[in-house]
């Protein structure tokens, strides 16, 4: 089954890079939703062969990711974009071309990190750990570079997706922790942020976090 898993991991990474390169907000949200779909298939591809033992964690992770990452959050974000009537990223802190270069470097760095941090028990596929770190770091990049609240949430989602991928290594060891962690992170972090974004879009009529910088010293 690792063939499917590797394919899914590569799709996730490609979508991450495409988010970095996209300035249209709807494009970012769409790519993030697709990433959610790919991630919801990942537990099935990794553990589908041993479903009898891991049915509960696989089901919660797959269905949870599908519902929240692929449907609910993208819908909330799309509504925020519609209400606030913004289309494009206004001048990110670093130009898109340069961010893509940094993202590519981060992916390379993650592969190097994967050679240093070796799992005590081999992962289902050697791509798992590097791809987890790559998604995490690229998510961080998007969080830092972008100004719109919507794209910041997309960046946070990517960061979380990295942790989701990493969690797959522990499904056999601590299924409870993995399920709990991933489900809560999905529901709580992002759901509340989705609500907050809607407040912001109503209050400010646009969702540029630059406007959210009146509190300083």
């Amino acid at each position: 089954m690792t063939g499917y898993a590797d394919f899914l991991l590569l799709v996730v990474a490609a979508l991450s890079l495409s988010i970095v390169a996209t300035s249209r907000l709807t494009g970012c949200v769409r790519a993030s939703a697709l990433q959610g779909v790919a991630l919801s298939l990942l537990p099935l591809a990794l553990w589908g062969g041993a479903l009898d033992r891991h049915a509960v964690p696989v089901a919660t992770m797959s269905l949870g990711a599908l519902a929240v990452k692929a449907v609910i959050i993208p819908l909330l974000l799309a509504r925020a974009i519609r209400e606030a009537n913004v289309r494009r990223e206004s001048e990110p802190f670093i130009s898109l071309h340069f961010s893509v270069l940094i993202a590519a470097a981060l992916v390379g760095f993650s592969f190097w990190l994967g050679t240093i941090l070796i799992l005590p028990k081999p992962a289902p596929t050697p791509l798992l750990v590097p791809m987890a770190f790559a998604n995490l770091l690229v998510g961080f990049l998007v969080l830092i570079v972008r100004r719109k609240a919507v794209t910041q949430v997309v960046g946070y989602l990517m960061l979380e997706n990295g942790i989701f991928i990493f969690g797959q290594t522990l499904v056999e060891e601590v299924p409870f922790a993995v399920e709990l962690g991933i489900l809560l992170d999905l529901l709580v972090g992002v759901f509340v942020m989705g609500i907050a974004i809607n407040h912001i879009s109503r209050e400010f009529e646009h969702i540029d976090t630059e406007l959210l910088s009146t509190l300083k010293d």
């Binding site: 609240a149 946070y156 942790i163 522990l170 922790a177 709990l180 962690g181 942020m193 959210l212 010293d217």
Partner: protein
Amino acid sequence: MAWILPFLFLTPGVLGLAALAVKSLRVGLGILLFGALLHFVGTVSLWAGADTIAFGTFLRVDVTGLIFLSITSVLFLLVAIYTVPYILQGTHDKQSAPHRFVPCLLGFLAAMSLVSVTQNLALMWAAVEGTTLASAPLVYFYRRRGALEAAWKYLLLCSVGIALALLGTFCLGVAASAVPGASAGLTLDGLMKAAPSMARPWLKTAFVLALVGYGTKMGLAPLHTWLPDTHSQAPSPVSALLSGALLNCAFLAILRFFQVCLASGDAAFARTLLVVLGFASIAIACAFMVGQRDYKRLLAYSSIENMGVMAAGVGLGGAATYGAIFHSVNHSLCKAGLFLLAGNVLRAFGTTSARQARGVLGRIPVTGVLMTALFLAIGGAPPFGPFWSEFLIFQTAIRGTSPWIGVLFVSLLAVAFLGMAGALLPMLQGAQGDDARRVREPALSVVAPLALAIGALSIGVYVPPILSDALHHAATALGG
């Protein structure tokens, strides 16, 4: 006795849900007081029990957890009393939905209690996440732009922090998976037993991620930037709980990871990190305290400074560990009191600017006197509690291998004291403007800060044996 552990977080949770259905403010506040009182009684009864009390596989409280639980419980009871006049007589805007206040507060209490009464690191993580969920609506209680901005920063930065902490928890699971039969469920006991043979690179990665992740929530530099905004924009009772109770919960989470590092026999690395981040936090807080014009922000920066003191104390080890845990008690008493008093000042003057709120002692004398006392206490003046805890940390540092750390510590504390004095003293003593008048202070809004000030003074003069025993036990468990 063990059934008290689930009781401590289920009661506020259930009462919070019940309060959600109640429309009447007075009934809601009654539920709040009832829940706070039940929680307090439950917590007190735990002190009579054994050192470690367990309920099922997930709930377990040791002395360290009990100390932090008690701080939360005492503060919550006092804040609940303060909240009654705050909600009933406060000037709220129409949209602020005061009936949501009580359910969120009780949910917040439930999540904070769960952090202290579990030693399952996955469940503890979920509880810390729960505290963010319950407190974010409280921060945005006043539907103002500033509050919305603060709530957004709080959510975004703390969610990133909490995500890193989850990754740290997973890394700990990976580190434990190298030890056969050890990874069962990420409980502190199991992890500490397995620690000596854990995969070291993963253990270190786990500690770094947990320190940065939970450290975000605790207000440690460099990811502390949400804290001054959030604590200054939130309603005062919420600020008191955020500063006095929530920061401690995050500290407890870091201490759990530190305990695993200690058990591995390889804690020097973790100690260095704690000292470095601790001092960085103190220094950054000092830089922003000098010349600070907003008194609520000033108090928030002082919280960052004190969190730094606690982290550095645990990192230094020895007697400083006792000092650090003692300091968390002291800081909670003083800072919760100060934030509640800041709420009184805000109501009397209608501004958070220390320059415009002149003559606090003249307009609201009880608040003014208490604020002076608590400012001296948190600034480290004897005979209040914080003096002794900071003195212990200083003593350990100056007697250690590098005495200059102790000198740096004292110099930074002096800067922080002067920074606070520069803003607060003119505000307290200054002459009032043209509209000089005395404002009535409701008894319920000063009784809680009064109790906190008496507490901070009395544990400075005399630490009861039951508390000092508990502190010693906790310090021993934390390598002190």
